[in-house]
Subunit: 220 residues, 2 copies
């Protein structure tokens, strides 16, 4: 991004990650290092030259690090630096804002397999999580995510949790209705849109902790 020569932290942040694709590359790398080709696949539409250029820029300003994995499989991977990882707060804030005009997915295959690992921290409300120490296992469409809430923080990962307080199964529209508080957990269970095993009150609490503000209509 071109120098905007204004002394302003937002301007400076945008000079670092404000260009097309930059933030999305960071999103891809938030869950761990990836290879060049994996990035290409995760970012449909990006030109290979653009990706190379962005990675060079992000590396030169201390957001991304290029690492060579040693043999047996010598591959080069890109990894976020600690400073790069701290973009997660800003990304989640942006995601929360964007989610309010996005609406539920039309078809489940619009979602990428790890989407929940991004979504759950973004939906997390630390205020409501105070004093809660629980683990939720969510089976949404064909994907399984685990959210561990403790000490006012959340850790999300792909996969099941043998120690979950509650295991819930639903499709993605139901999940979106629940986090938007357009559907109550009790109704979801009663109508059969969600099936749960375990503590019912944990299921209720889950959507007090993970939620978004009400949806907004327009945004063409």
């Amino acid at each position: 991004m071109k120098r905007l020569d204004q002394y302003c932290p937002v301007v400076h942040a945008l000079e670092l990650v404000g260009e097309r694709w930059s933030l999305l590359i960071v999103r891809e790398l938030l869950h761990g290092p990836k290879r060049y080709t994996d990035l290409t696949n995760g970012l449909p539409g990006i030109g290979t030259n653009i990706l190379a250029a962005r990675l060079r820029d992000l590396e030169s300003c201390g957001i991304v690090e290029k690492k060579k994995l040693p043999p047996p499989t010598p591959a080069t991977v890109y990894e976020l630096t600690p400073y790069g990882k701290e973009l997660d707060e800003a990304m989640h804030a942006l995601a929360r804002w964007g989610a309010r005009t996005l609406g539920p997915p039309k078809s489940p295959d619009e979602l990428y397999p790890e989407w929940g690992v991004n979504a759950l921290p973004a939906l997390f409300d630390p205020e409501r999580a105070k004093g809660v120490k629980e683990t939720y296992e969510l089976k949404i469409d064909e994907n399984v995510f685990t959210a561990r809430v403790a000490r006012g923080r959340v850790e999300a990962e792909v996969g099941a949790a043998p120690d979950a307080d509650v295991v819930a199964e639903m499709d993605s529209p139901t999940f979106f209705a629940l986090v938007a508080h357009e559907l109550s957990p009790a109704e979801a269970v009663k109508s059969g849109r969600a099936r749960i095993e375990g503590a019912v009150d944990a299921f209720d609490r889950c959507f007090e902790i993970f939620h978004i503000a009400p949806r907004v209509a327009a945004a063409a």
Copy 2:
């Protein structure tokens, strides 16, 4: 921004405000409606056609509203919608992140007069503000800002506060050193870099509540 046809709230948010200048226009409007020419002045380097195009886009997706002020002075102003205003969280998160590699301003005139109204909410730490009900008046370089902290929230405005618990005067490098915790409030007073009137402990508390994470070295 071009359609990136990926179901992801970040992608969607970037489609709305990810283009060059879009977020900066929002920044300009966060403190109230502005006229077209004022926007041009606040955004040095923006082309008038670009500004017009961005305003059209932002209006069409429900972030900005164009209003005509009635006579006596018939002017058209641009104002954020409620949904647009809620970008403040994301902007402050981005600002906090950017501030860590920005460093203090080289000269005070790099700063725009209202900068503090943006900076204070961005630096605000709700965790540290719990149970605090205080008002701080900060004279930084030639600008005066007031921050009212109450019920875990902050309101910042330009101008003095007759009811302030503490009035502090300093230059901007000192302010930046204080919020970065590179300089303690006690040292700042002792060395004469800051002059205060009022409660000393309120001055200390001010920079517990308003702070950034430690600065990061690089970021070319």
